[in-house]
Symmetry: C2
Subunit: 140 residues, 2 copies
Amino acid sequence: MESQDLKKAGLKATLPRLKILKFLEASQVRHMSAEDVYKAMLENGDEVGLATIYRVLTQFEAAGLVTRHHFDEGHSMFELNQGSHHDHILCVKCGRVDEFMDPVIEEQQHKIAEAKGYEMTDHALYIYGICPNCRKSGKK
Amino acid sequence: MESQDLKKAGLKATLPRLKILKFLEASQVRHMSAEDVYKAMLENGDEVGLATIYRVLTQFEAAGLVTRHHFDEGHSMFELNQGSHHDHILCVKCGRVDEFMDPVIEEQQHKIAEAKGYEMTDHALYIYGICPNCRKSGKK
DNA sequence: GTTGGAAATGCGAAACTCTATCATTTCACT
DNA sequence: AGTGAAATGATAGAGTTTCGCATTTCCAAC
């Protein structure tokens, strides 16, 4: 009963919110824009207004249910929070996204923030490159 | 004669491009959006169309003269390439931007890319936090 | 120096993502 | 079931960036 998850997050268990949460959980694609979610749900027969998708994803983010990423300028990508924290490495040719977690980097970031007198609240790390497949096929 | 710099970068030495390059070099502010550049140049009496600012900054980026940053969603920030590579730490309260360079992190990134089979082309690292000033004044 | 043509510019319109407005509907609680 | 608060949906609007095209500028050859 996902409605419990929403209540726990401080959100009223409305039909659109439930549909979106279920959709994210069922999706094979881990990273999606609001537009992606909107279109995919439409095809699924679940009609939810685009404005609602944006609102709900923002609320989910505030509630810690999803994370918002800025892989590239222009639009936000959302990822359901499951499993543990990780950063991303992206292919500039095909858009493929892989995940990694590096304790050394995580620790260094805290050290840097401390050295600069900052209280660290968040961080974003993206490595861009050419993925194994694209290197092999040698696409320009 | 900055026109040499442009020629070297493979760009025709036009008046707007020269003006923009000179402006960036003279500016005390290191990070600016296209709109920032446009307005500041207007006040300076250098009128260059906004579309041209966007085009030229994008060309400068391709030529390696400037770097484009995505500090937050919504708009790109540009920085003239002078001095060496560095990453950024940003205050979420006041927008202050500091720079740092950490050899350990740089090296780890290459290792990660290699381990994942990627050919690394670029990376972006932003640490977000509360800067010393904002911590002292305890602003919410 | 002129001049011819390619390249760049400037303007407005348009694309794109995201937010605001507000009438209507839905949820939760008696 | 009834009621009030909150959420939704549709559309308009805001903000950033790009596009299309007429005009201007650069530059190299005469």
